[in-house]
Amino acid sequence: MPVSASAIYFLNLRGDVLINRLYRDDVGGNMVDAFRLHIMQTKELGSCPVRQIGGCSFLYMRISNVYIVIVVSTNANVASAFKFVVEAVALFKSYFGGAFDEDAIRNNFVLIYELLDEIMDFGYPQNLSPEMLKLYITQQGVRSPFSSKPKEKIVPNATLQVTGAVGWRREGLVYKKNEVFLDIVESVNLLMSSKGSVLSCDVTGKILMKCFLSGMPDLKLGLNDKIGLEKESQLKSRPAKSGKTIELDDVTFHQCVNLTRFNTEKTVSFVPPDGEFELMKYRITEGVNLPFRVLPTIKELGQARVEVNVKVKSAFGAKMFALGVVIKIPVPKQTAKTSFQVTSGRVKYNAAINCLVWKIRKFPGQTEPTLSAEVELISTISEKKSWTRPPIQMEFQVPMFTASGLRVRFLKVWEKSGYNTVEWVRYITKAGSYEIRC
């Protein structure tokens, strides 16, 4: 079942309509008022992305300071609708050449209307690939001066392209320097009890590629995952190399990956689209290397004082370091005064989120900085509800480290002309929802 969206609205945070497009006339034009009144102006905003009001479903998503709302009046495929929104935003970004926000929308009305006409027809999603659309929607977005220079001439036979066997890649591309960039980006989700036992943990990763290759190259990627390695060892009839093999769950590939070859030969081989794309996504639930361990002790001393001690241990190699580490330690709402000591980084009390925010810009591996703080509370007249102790949250980025242990074993490029290529591989691990109960 496709989306069958009746209308799509772009609203700013106040609820004003920036731009909208009605695809079907089965919803009234004032449905967006219902959205504004019943969703945006209530506390439920953000709690549930799908709401039903008066026989219509509102599927909404906030992207920077814009709400994108899809109104459907039938029983629609919600996942497909959200995928559509995400893809549409990616498309807009590639046209605008930068951020997608209220100002960008205001500056690109005509372009957006043209795109909205193209990417959805009578409520059914159509081709959303920027490469393709750029062939025939020649409107230029208003670019910021820093974005890359405008593309060269457009190949005229767009139809052929769209319907051809390799719909995602133009022929006749020529680069002076043939380069491939491959990034493995992982985000770690963790929920840990205060005693240090892992309650739930998984890693979602994706492989992003950027190709600047001439002609029609064929690429082949080898990872240290289980299936690939087993296959290889079978083929070469020799035992797998020692070292960890990674079991990937829920692998999804970009459409350019040749699935028949993946099914038969268990190799990831593909003809890449030009420019940036997401090659594959995966998930890992077992054997995760946690980059950080947090050991909190938070003691409530009577009604008026809380004592906080937090120790953070970095578990990755001593040569590596994490960047932009932020640890948010919750404190009671009625916090009046705080005093603290840390071994590294800086701490601030943020009343707006009721947290002590501890920032460490550069966090080397195999170290354990500590924070000890004393919080004084003000007395209140409301009933003595015990403090709910929300979890400690953590943000970080660890370059050249993968929580899953995934590594690129090889990336082969084969092209008729046989030119030399340069391959660049990067790894980065980020925090997803990294929470430690205290």
């Binding site: 106040r14 102006q41 009625q334 009046a336 005064k337 009343a351 989120i353 009721n354 003000i378 209140t380």
Partner: protein, 1014 residues
Amino acid sequence: MALSGMRGLSVFISDIRNCPNKEQERLRVDKELGHIRTRFKNEKGLTPYEKKKYVWKMLYIYMLGYDVDFGHMEAVSLISAPKYPEKQVGYIVTSSLLNENHDFLRLAINTVRNDIIGRNETFQCLALTLVGNIGGREFAESLAPDVQKLLLSSSCRPLVRKKAALCLLRLFRKNPDVVNVDGWSDRMAQLLDERDLGVLTSSMSLFVALVSKDYDSYWSCLPKCVKVLERLARNQDIPQEYTYYGIPSPWLQVKTMRALQYFPTVEDPNTRRSLFEVLQRVLMGTDVVKNVNKNNASHAVLFEALALVMHLDAEKEMMSQCVALLGKFIAVREPNIRYLGLENMTRMLMVTDVQDIIKRHQAQIITSLKDPDISIRRRALDLLYGMCDVSNAKDIVEELLQYLATADFAMREELSLKAAILAEKFAPDLSWYVDVILQLIDKAGDFVSDDIWFRVVQFVTNNEDLQPYAALKAREYLDKPAIHETMVKVSAYLLGEYSHLLARRPGCSPKEIFSMIHDKLPTVSTPTIPILLSTYAKILMHSQPPDPELQNQIWAVFSKYESCIDVEIQQRAAEYIALSRKGAALVDILAEMPKFPERKSSLIKKAEDTEADTAEQSAIKLRAQQQTSNALTVTDQPIGNGVPPEAQLGPVKMPSMSNEGHSTADQVLTRSNGSATNLQASTPSPDLLGDLLSPLAIEGPPAPASVESERNPVSGTPTAADALALAPIGGQTNTIQPIGNIAERFQALCLKDSGVLYEDPYVQIGIKAEWRSHQGRLVIFLGNKNTAPLVSVQALILAPSHLKLELSEVPQTIPPRAQVQCPLEVVNLRPSRDVAVLEFSYKFGTDMVNVKLRLPAVLNKFLQPIPVSAEEFFPQWRSLSGPPLKLQEVVRGVKPMLLMEMANLLNSFRLMVCPGLDPNTNNLVASTTYYSESTRAMLCLVRIETDPADRTQLRMTVASGDPALTYELKEFIKEQLISIPLASHAPQPLPQQAPPSNPPIAQSDPGAMLAALL
């Protein structure tokens, strides 16, 4: 403004205002709250300026809707600051952030008091405003005397006294028991002499509150009020700033007139005269003008004056003036004014003597019935209904009928009911009445309740002159192609009964009538089919000489329905087919329905009920008392034969017959009519069925019993179709009657532990009981009074779920002149008012007797009186606060009795009255212990507050540690208070809560009923 100096505050406010969305606003507020917390916690303390600033910020945040749960200490402490700006913020924040239950307020009481008794009048005003806004009990206790002093002080400026009056008013409204107003009549009189209108207006509000509680002490103020009115309305002696669109202080006028309405009357002739002069002036001086505000003000005064005029029962002349004025109002185009005019005219109907004057406006009111605004239409309908009498009934009812066709669906039911009632009440002749109702059914069939057509049937049955006419009319309506089902029912019934009277007319032969009715059969629903079947049977009976073709047709119908899935229809069809084969005997069996006894129309009763609900001013009720309904009495037909007075028949329930024996020839169950045996009857059957059915049992001619039961015991609840039952064969009325009143005996046994439960010529049942906490032992004595043995003796206990009952075996036969003892063990599991029933049957000779007797194992038997001292009582009473542990109810319709009698009654129910606990001598406080297996021993406390002025109502509060017990005990006492004096005929229905397993013997006692009838 005090804010001007505070930069931080204005920056904060502008920050908030500049927030683009709610989320950022919340972030900003949380940040600010964090800041304020830090500052308040600062050891160094705050300068008064800072404190003021942060408290203002707190207030602003609070006003934006965020929780502020700290900093109250700072706010309260600002109250005692010496400077105005700080004091002001302290007062404002305290009164908005705290409510009367906060402990922090205690800290403030002393400071507030100092301000009140101080010299600075701005501070006094601030303090009075705070007290008035919060108005808690503690404030009232400690500050009321000071506020009173301030109000009376001559040295204060009017500004302060005004506020003091309002503050006192609020304290008095909130805690009337704390504010001491004894001896205030003199002071009030003094206050009402006040020259300053501001103070006077506030004092008048206070006065209204005081007289609403107790007008007796304030008689001396009455002339002063009249003086105030004179001053305002006649002399117009007020400063310019108190006139509103040229009207001298309308608020004060309205309040004064409202206050006057709390006094029952104005006795002093001088005062009365001057009051009427003022009222006259108000009535004369009010007119409809262009300006809306002026209209509102002057009309407010006018309507209050009207209310006062009505209250005082003014002379006719003045009344007619009022009506004339209202007549002008209802002719106005503006809907609000018209609405008010109509509403007040309806209210005027309460007052006698003005109807004739109101009638002059009838045409105008009828026009209002067509108003686009539904609320005006409703008012017009109410008014028309209220003003209708014999002289204008015809016009009004016809108007209503016409209107019915176009009326809103929401109104139609009410409209049709009202039209039916008016037609019945004021019918000039009965054929007109029949016309009207048939038209009504024709036009609004869906909205005509069954009562309406039952009533028509009653009328027609009781008036022979009317019968041919009604039959003819019914035939005419049946001719129409599409008619409502109700119309089918009523026409079929009428034609079945009376079509033979038309036989000579063209097109009215039995055959034609039959085919006409039979055409409708496929279109009607199941409940109507039995009526049609009865009609066919009657037509068949009336077709003399028998027409074989018709007979065959009708038999075909009957035999078709003999296998109908609906039991009622099936049974009727089967019986009719059997009956119709009897030949000549048919005429006797299917004789014409006997006349109905005259009784109050259930329609009128229904209308009165709905009126009581709407609290509509009871104009109609009043008038109903004045003019006795001329329904039914307009006919000079003798009604019924030996019809008992209606009071005794009214509540008689429909007797339902047990017909298991109808196929067996020997008729064992001759007592089938005895409603004492009748459990089904306890489901309250609608009174309308009583209307139609109750006489059947008495007047039906005796006939072969084998075919008697046209009513179906399986269907349990009587259906409307029963109304059409043939004149029945009531069977012999029972020969065995109980001696004495069963209900009375039961009542007596509820109080005593031994006595006679039941007695008839053959048997006597006695009871002896012993009770110990939640257990009891009853011994039932079954005594045979005769010289012949009683056989087939059976005693069955139907126990309610809360009692565990074990009856030892009862012998099958009781020898002559012997007594048998059957011990019965009782265990009370949990509180309930349900009553156990003893089903007792025996056979004496050929008579089978079956009675159901309530056993006196009632709630109060498990009570143990216990005296309670004041020290024990009050903590208990307080700890059981609020429902469901403590329940309060105002009981109305109590049998009036002296306090002593009531105390005795309670004591007899084992509720120990503890004298002296309640300071009010009109109240009773009682205590007892209740025992059951689930609650064990449970202390119960009861407080009854009586009104010496009105003994028929009282307020009752019951408290115990168990919600179920509290409820049951409350209901039990209520039942007892309402129903104790059961008259010998016991027409009074038991309280509705009586459980279904508890047959209301009192009302269906066959002995009592028969005694009344025969």
